[in-house]
Symmetry: C2
Subunit: 411 residues, 2 copies
């Protein structure tokens, strides 16, 4: 068990910032960081028609948002693709306006002179299909909440199951629309690591460098079952109605329950118990002792954070994201070994030591397989008490390593 | 990460046996173990009236079941109390009939000549208040599913919140009804460890020896929030109706979801992934790829096990058990340090190295505090890939240590 090494206040500020950025809500109380060298960005939209899914279905029209940072060079060979995590979107870095309180989630490592240097690289990211934040004005996605052109109503559960491969294929179409035919690197955390690895396995000629942060190379039985715990409360919500609900009466309680579970699993007791202490939590609270209808302060806090985030998210989209993750194996080649066999990239795995959602063994497995296949691969560990969230909120601890890896410098 | 050291088939048989014993259903397909020295037992019933709860409420009538193994001696000083885990009951050892397929959950260490030797000790266990298996014919308990004598209907959520201290106080009344005024030891796993520690802190003159297996000395913020994840799906079930439901239309889907979550958290990926492999699980299953309404084989398996167990369990009882656990701190003295200060017993802590539900730090904390208070305390670690379940299904690995500790032999 790693001891907490981070200042509590700092960590709380971080967590609030991360939660705020997850929901894309501006938090006026949070002081914005220094404006010098502020990276600005805006959401673009890509559209394609008759998109064929990995499962063999057709989506008549796909719209997804994307963002970029830095300039595409004339040779179009300076492209770094960032693939986002489960509850994230393409807002990886920068701000939408000068008074935007929070930048994108990996702003600490993406920008002019930063580890992923926008003075050198054209950095691009794409909103996933079935993106969780379907109602966020800064997210463009296509999924069960989208209008089915054939019926004029939301698809609901008639939307086809989509996979991580489909996210990758949409990204490839976006890149090709810009005349790009090769990446400098693909880098992503968590669900983003799945996309990054699938890129390297499926389009090896495109990918000379791949970085998988807090990664999973496949959904093992444990992960598939754990992910299902996020889907179950949504299906139990009486408003869910087998996926057929309105924007006015969504299954919010089920979605909030899922988000509570996600937040808890993405953290580690070391950090969470510090949060409890800061809130004044004690097991001997009088209110929950006197009334079964109430809950402890720490539960109220966790629910409150989830309720704030839920209004911009769609419950069916969460179900489809869970399924996409459950179906994942790098390369979709029947086994992880077979999928990784196609990888040509040099690869870097960055699990977090305290991660309880995707434990370090999830990174050690593909690393070992790639090593045994004679590939150029390395592994290094994120430290700290945040658990899975280390890979998002605390990524700057690996800035030097990332920079060197991307620039092919000796490490 | 501990490598799996157990034969897969053996572990699967164990798990099935444990799951069967949890639900108290006989499993004809499971071969019963050797009949030599078969320990027999039967459920007894204890009744008390006007029971005052720790929270200051009165329960007009309390009925609880209890079992014993071995003989109470004339001095009544050979008593070992076994306190049960969350989904368990007082059936700690032995069989109800010669053709009973499964013995009590700790039969591996309780019996003639075993670590907790019924040739020497009178071993006794009591069904908890708000016991999960409210409809199990072999469980007697009082809780929200019991009939309120004032209304002639089930209490539902009008039943007062009860605590681990209340479980302890009911056990004390059972013991006193037998003329017992001192224990030789108290021993319990998981929620049973809470009761064992509270016994040692609250009635120190009764308790010269205490063993806490896969323990928690208090519900820290992490544990309180994690436990809430078991309660949430029940409250979401449309049949729950704020706790006012009938035996004919219970909130079974919510209860099944809670049990799935409990089973998953009580295990470890090392074991769970072996189970998945044995079931033929693969992320690339066709059914969940083609149909969002279906789920992967491993999810179906987990749900199936939960559905088998749910029929004998009560959803409101689960909510009350969650609350009792959330409110727990050893000694209820304002802080863990203050509670442990009253302990006079020599103590033994047995966490499981791979435990993800109550991680080893939960045992290391009270152990350190007791040590710093100059008390006679020791800690040792259960090994193996089962996670939390090591403390129930695989306890025999610590048989020699337990025997020596209880007999005051040099270790």
């Amino acid at each position: 068990m790693t001891k907490p090494t981070l200042n509590l206040h700092l960590v709380l500020v971080w967590l609030m910032a991360v939660l705020a950025s997850l929901s894309q809500t501006a938090c006026a109380a949070t002081p914005s960081s220094s404006k010098k060298a502020t990276l600005m960005t805006e959401k673009q939209v890509f559209t394609t028609t008759n998109f064929k899914t990995y499962g063999g279905k057709t989506i008549p029209e796909v719209n997804v948002g994307w963002e970029s940072y830095g300039e595409l060079n004339a040779a179009k060979d300076n492209v770094i693709l960032i693939t986002h995590y489960f509850s994230g979107n393409s807002h990886a870095a920068g701000r939408y306006s000068a008074d935007d309180a929070e930048p994108g989630y990996w702003d600490a490592i993406i920008g002019p002179g930063k580890a992923i240097d926008t003075n050198k690289y054209f950095v691009i990211s794409v909103d996933s299909l079935v993106n969780l934040s379907a109602y966020d004005p800064n997210v463009v996605t296509t999924g069960p909440a989208s209008i089915n052109p054939e019926t004029g109503k939301p698809y609901g559960l008639t939307f086809p199951v989509v996979t991580i491969r489909d996210f990758v294929n949409v990204q490839k179409l976006v890149l090709e629309s810009l005349g790009i035919s090769k990446l400098h690197a693909v880098v992503g955390p968590s669900m983003g690591s799945m996309q990054a690895q699938d890129w390297a396995a499926t389009y090896p000629e495109w990918v000379p460098r791949m970085v998988a942060v807090i990664p999973a190379a496949q959904a093992d039985a444990w992960t598939a079952a754990a992910l299902e715990q996020w889907a179950i409360p949504i299906r139990l919500d009486k408003n869910w109605n087998k996926g057929d609900y309105t924007r006015e009466a969504p299954p919010k309680d089920g979605l909030v329950a899922a988000l509570m579970s996600i937040t808890l699993q993405a953290l580690h007791p070391d950090f969470f118990n510090q949060t409890g202490q800061a809130l004044g939590y004690t097991p001997q609270e009088q209110t929950p002792l006197n009334d079964i209808h109430t809950t402890h302060s720490i539960v109220n806090w966790l629910r409150g954070r989830a309720e704030e985030r839920a209004d911009l998210m769609d419950a069916n989209h969460l179900l489809y994201l869970v399924r996409a993750n459950q179906l994942f194996v790098t390369g979709y080649a029947g086994s992880l070994e077979a999928g990784l066999k196609n990888v040509k990239a040099k690869t870097l795995y960055l699990p977090a030591k305290t991660d309880l959602l995707l434990m370090p063994y999830m990174a050690e497995k593909p690393y070992s397989i790639l090593k045994s296949q004679g590939k150029n691969t390395q592994i290094d560990y994120l430290e700290g008490a945040l658990g899975h969230l280390e890979g998002v909120a605390d990524i700057s601890q690996k800035a030097d390593l990332l920079r060197a890896f991307l620039n092919d410098e000796p490490q």
